[in-house]
Point group: C2
Chain length 99, copies 2
DNA sequence: TCGCTATATGAGAATAATCGCATACTCTCA
DNA sequence: TGAGAGTATGCGATTATTCTCATATAGCGA
């Protein structure tokens, strides 16, 4: 029998994989300061539009972001701000490693 | 010029990639309850010894775990307990997504 | 030293992630 | 309806990740 625990590991890994990309981290960081549309995110991250669009799809698939079309543009926002807390831990780990 | 920010994204992504694997999550979870040697981790995770050993190398490379040999066995322990905090957020994201 | 146990490492195959380019889709406005 | 802007998607090439099996290394006790 597949335990509930195992399912959690699978889903957690899936979420972490979604976060484990430099461009997606930049996107999340940008969105942590407020919603943005795709073009602005492309500019903010320095990545191609189609690439940003794909990264956003990954983040949306795991429920980290949300999108809303307004006219021609599609605005994205961070659904789960606690994701940003990840990074304070990440920075601590990185700092400790350097020490 | 490569900014400090960009380096941070790169390192954060590296750390997240190290965490983004089901078996490694199981390992971290097991270690959060106390140090364990490789064989015990293999049994706890249900993965092969050589596989566990490689996963441990990945975690060690990013500074999340530490190892110490005692006789024939090598004991691993979690260096950065805050990593476990990741998961409360992860679970929240997953729960919110299901809602 | 020899045999045994525990762990680590290497090679190769299979799978997954990423990127760039081209193109399709969607909405607005004239 | 047609043009143009903004966004999404499909495809192929490249690179990264993961697994398994075989082998190497390290320490133990006889």
């Amino acid at each position: 029998m597949q335990t509930k625990q195992n399912l959690d590991y699978k889903q957690q890994a899936r979420l972490l994989r979604a976060l484990a990309n430099e461009t997606r981290l930049k996107i999340i960081d940008a969105l942590s300061r407020g919603e943005m549309h795709v073009g602005a995110l492309a500019e903010a991250t320095g990545a191609e539009q189609s690439s940003v669009s794909k990264h956003l799809a990954v983040l949306r698939a795991v429920g980290v972001v949300d999108d809303e079309r307004r006219g021609n543009e599609v605005y994205y926002r961070l659904l789960t701000p606690c994701v940003v807390e990840f990074f304070s831990c990440a920075l601590r780990v990185i700092k400790e490693r350097q020490a």
